[in-house]
């Protein structure tokens, strides 16, 4: 039992152990809810909710009414769970802390100015969410959820993601790649 508690408290698990846990969660999502895991979809539902509150006319379209309906959906609750899951993990290893610029390698790649990181994460968020929309899902909703059902879409997405991701890292890191 002590061994088990120590394992749970470790800051980083073997990726095989953490992946197996996610695999079980993936099975349970299908068995208990007949749904798939996802993350980018929940952002669309929340965006629709905010949009309809601020400017009902411009958000009264097919997308926010039918494709990704505005409101607190299953995907939104899943996102809330992911947030608290990250928190639980951080508390379990004693690493929870309000912080910014905590990544040493980021500083060697981009410098230590916080505004650069904030700008990059904001712009990155926009690009990732838009790309997920076009692809039909993100790393969770398409790569993992589609891949586990053996959907070709997932493997096309993964291939594209790794190809451009590796090329981008090559450009950012140059000689240090």
């Amino acid at each position: 039992m002590n061994w088990f508690i120590n394992q749970v408290r470790k800051e980083e698990w073997s990726p095989y152990a953490a992946g197996a846990l996610l695999g079980v969660v993936g099975i349970l999502t299908v068995v208990l809810s007949n749904k798939l895991l996802g993350a980018s979809g929940g952002f669309e539902n929340i965006a629709g909710m905010f949009g309809k509150a601020i400017s009902p006319a411009s958000f009264n379209n097919t997308y926010f009414n039918f494709v990704m309906p505005a409101g607190v959906t299953y995907a939104v609750v899943l996102l809330i769970g992911i947030f608290f899951g990250g928190m639980l993990g951080a508390f379990s290893s004693g690493t929870f802390k309000f912080r910014t610029m905590d990544d040493a390698q980021w500083k060697t790649a981009y410098g230590s100015q916080p505004w650069k990181r904030w700008l990059m994460l904001f712009a990155g968020g926009i690009v990732l969410e838009y790309a997920a929309g076009i692809a039909g899902g993100c790393t969770s909703g398409l790569a993992i959820s589609g891949g586990m059902l053996l959907a070709p879409a997932a493997f096309l997405f993964i291939a594209g993601m790794f190809a451009s991701g590796i090329l981008t890292a090559l450009l950012v890191y140059g000689k240090r790649f």
């Binding site: 208990l32 980018s40 411009s58 809330i80 610029m101 700008l119 997920a132 993100c138 981008t168």
Partner: protein
């Protein structure tokens, strides 16, 4: 059981797994693309194999049906993936890991990260009707899975995939496919 309660609990375990795998850190994500740390690939492949070993037999036993399978429309899946990879490699996160990292207290994930995803969601939702239908029309195979598309036995497909994953893990861990840290 209440559907939302189930979603909350499953989400907690999902976020917990992302945290324990270390995927909520920029270094972990970008080093996958530098091929100096293969944890992201191992994590994803393990999850895929475990889940398919569960859901395919359960479906064959008639205990479950598959939820709507993510649609295959080749151009959109690939182009979306290509753009996604650029963003993920530059910023070092994706929608799920940003939310889990936000829960860990990372202020740069909580403020610009979450706001970025919401902004992207608004932009996509407002332009969807012009952008998505033309792309989704090209090479669209619908909500299909590989065993049906290629007309192979689903269990054969699952075992081949699992075998490929094991060979990949072996190559990474034993044959030194992972590049050395510099």
């Amino acid at each position: 059981m209440n559907e939302y309660f189930v979603a909350l609990i499953l989400g907690v375990f999902f976020g917990f797994a992302l945290n324990k795998a270390g995927l909520t850190r920029y270094t972990k994500i970008v080093n996958q693309f530098r091929l100096t740390d293969m944890a992201v690939l191992k994590f994803m492949m393990t999850a895929l194999v475990v889940t398919m070993l569960g859901v395919y037999p359960l479906r064959a036993l008639g205990l479950i049906t598959f939820p709507t399978v993510p649609a295959t429309y080749i151009l959109g899946n690939v182009v979306g993936g290509l753009v996604f990879g650029v963003g993920m490699s530059l910023a070092g996160f994706c929608p799920g890991t940003c939310v889990a990292g936000a829960g860990e207290g990372k202020l740069d994930y909580i403020v610009p990260g979450l706001l970025g995803f919401l902004t992207g969601a608004i932009l996509y939702g407002l332009t969807y009707q012009w952008v998505f239908p033309p792309i989704a029309k090209i090479a669209n195979y619908g909500n299909v899975v590989i065993p049906d598309l290629w007309n192979v036995n689903p269990f054969l497909a699952v075992f081949v995939f699992a075998g490929m994953a094991l060979v990949l893990f072996y190559l990474i861990d034993r044959m030194g496919m992972q590049r050395k840290h510099t």
